[in-house]
Structures are given as structure tokens and as C-alpha cells.
Amino acid sequence: MLKNRIIPCLDVKNGRVVKGINFIDLKDAGDPVEQAKIYSDGGADEICFLDITASNENRETIYDVVEKTSKKCFVPLTVGGGVRTIEDINKLLNCGADKVSINTAAVQNSTVIVESSKKFGSQCIVVAIDAKKNADKWEIFTHGGRNNTGIDALEFVKKMEDSGAGELLVTSMDRDGTQVGYDIDLMSEISSKVNIPVIASGGVGNLDHLVDGIKLGNASAVLAASIFHYGKHSVKEAKEYLDKKGIPVRI
């Protein structure tokens, strides 16, 4: 049977790993290539890099990181952050990324999703959304969570599926960096709205949160950052815990 995936995410700035707390405060936690290798050796089902230097002059550093990582890690590698054009996607894939996650550009112009999924295949196009609860709905934010758009997340994800997205990476901005758990309602609402896999993100503080993301949020995969890379838990520990809770994982 198909297993639920655990995806450690590394926020990368200027070629170094950092983790944002609510997208703002950053701490340095090491070399991304070595970190990724530790994760894949430990049983990570995929590795995700989020380049948060995306719009700055150091943009090129991520290509080097991706190229080095892909020669050492033989599990899928997803790269996001500042991906805007078909050419950006092409470059990342050529460096060895297996999937590319697209956020702001997808919101601004869905044709980039239509065209990229046609050109490279849906399997490598992940649409990343940052959503924040606003009254009785979730609103889409762009530019690393800085700009609100007024767009309803539940309508937007359907549009992305129709445009050719292969997966959705859903981050709750209310939860990101808080360590109080995923926004389960957001995950389960989106998961029931689309037929493509949903990756839950934002808010993981303990292993039970991973369980909830899958059991209650109906996510196909769970993404987490800080619980893994500050050594709080290993990927192996997380998988054994999920297995104990009856969730199918690759061990």
C-alpha cells in the first residue's frame, strides 16, 4: 500500500540552513547538503529546500546547493522559494531537483502552472500556498507571507488542480513557527476539495502533530522543519512513532 510521507524541510538562505519563526526571526543551523544527507540516510521520504533568499542577489547559491545535494541524496528533492518562470523551473530541474514548488507566481498568474505542468509534467509541479484564517475562510498570502490577496484558499486550490498542479503544499500562516500543530481544519477542507495529494505544513511541535496531520487532516504527507533539525526528534523516531499509531510509513 501507499505510505504516508515524512518530509523534513530545510529553509535555506545564502546557501545555509535557517528556520524562520513566523517567517521573521532566523537562526543558522548548518550546511544544507550535509543536513539533507543526514535526513535521507535517516529515512526521510523526501527532502524539501525552501530558498528564502529567493528575490535577492544571492539567488544563485541555491542552484549550487541543489546540484551538490542531488549527487548525494537518492530520494526526491523538492525546491521552492522565488520560483517565478519556466526558466527558473528548468534551471532547478537541471540542477537535480525532482519537483519545484511555486507560490507567489502561481497566485499572480496561473498560466505558469498550466505551461510548466505541460512542459515538465505535473509530477514535478507543486503549488505551495500560504493561508491565513480570516473570519470564516482562509485567505491566500504571497511573497513569503507578506502580502494578502483576498483570494479564498479553497477556491484557489481547485483552480491549481485544474491548471495541472501535481501536489499541494499547504502552510498555515497562523501556525507556522508556533509549534502548536497543523491547522487541521484547513488541511482536511483542502484535502476533500481536491483529488491531488496534499502536504501539510506549518506548526509542528511534537510527533503527535504529525499523526494528526495525517489522521485528522487527511494529508498524504507531512512536512516539518524545526522538530528535526534542532535534533529534537530524528526522522527515524518520527516514523516509528507514526507506525505505532497505525499510520502506514516506510520503515
Partner: protein, 208 residues
Amino acid sequence: MKVTIVDYNSGNISSVINSFKEVAKDKVKIEVTADLNKIKSSDKLVLPGQGSFKSCVDALNNIKGLVDVLDDFATNDKKPLLGICVGLQMFADIGYEESETKGLSWIPGKVSKIDNQNGKYKLPHIGWNQLNILKESKIFKNIENNSHMYFVHSYEFIPEEKSVIIATIDYSSKVVCAVEKDNIFGTQFHPEKSDRLGLKIIENFINL
């Protein structure tokens, strides 16, 4: 020995290249090309494939003479060939992704969309699934039954002759995930992304 990865603009093949180079080290030459003469003189071929069935077949046809050379290699010279993902799917007579498209007709059968049972099964089928190994195969040497491999696809190969199926997975139904017919091998999963066990399958193919 020379193993050639056929580079026919089928999308992203850097992971395939990296994994074969990792396994081959300096012992086996890994070439990445669409040059017809170089393909002809290879000992083994790898046919990757990403995107849709139609886009891959179109990309093969866009390189003049390529399909004939591949045909010769696989069916006349009978040298080992490994198809990965859509590379495997193209072994079929026909595929139904985007529009009805003729395949290479090396293994009789068709490629259809996986039945998602009214939304019960998410598509694409993305992630790690377990092999049900049905038959012994040289590419499964030292691979245990129920080993996990990485998949990403929405379509499945349905061969007419069930005897070519060497492994299936459970997803909606028994989906064919590896085939072998004489010198022709194919995996629906991505050995290049399937961690150590995937690399083992690549090694097995190189060592054939």
C-alpha cells in the same frame, strides 16, 4: 562496458544520470546522448520518461531515426534495455494520456489512467509503495518482497500477456510496476529516487 541514458528531451533526467553515475563509479561508462551511432554501439540502454505518454512519444519521434535505432537495439540485437516510468509505459501499443497515441509496441498492451474510484484514491499516485514481487528477475537480485520504491504517476501499463509482469503494487487495484520480456525491463517506479534499494536495482541492471 557502456551504458547509455537516452537523452531525448523527455524532461528532467538529472536524477537518473546522478544515480547511474553513483552506482557505476569509474567501472562502467555512463553516456547521456541522443546520438544514434553512440546508442547503437552501447551495451545497455536506459529509456527514462517524464511528463505525458504523448509528450514522450512525440519527443522520441522528433529525433529522426531514433525510434528505429531503439527498435533495432531492443528487438533485433536484443541487448538489455531499462525503461523508467513513462519509459516503461512506451513499451505498450497504445497510450491514452492527452490523446490516443501509438507506443513502441514492444510489449502488447495499453496505458490507461488509474481508476481513482470516485476520488477514493488520490492521483497522481505519489510516494513510497511496496512491491509485490510475482516472478524472479535479475533486476530484483537481493531485493526482498515488499520493498519500498518511489512512485509518481497517474497512468498504468496493462499488458496483454500477464507473464511479463514481475511485480505489482496495491493502489486502487493491482497496478503493474515492473515488467520483463526477454532483454527488455521496465519499472513504473523511479529506482533513481528509491534510496539504497533503488540504487541496488540500477546496479543489478548494470551487472546483467
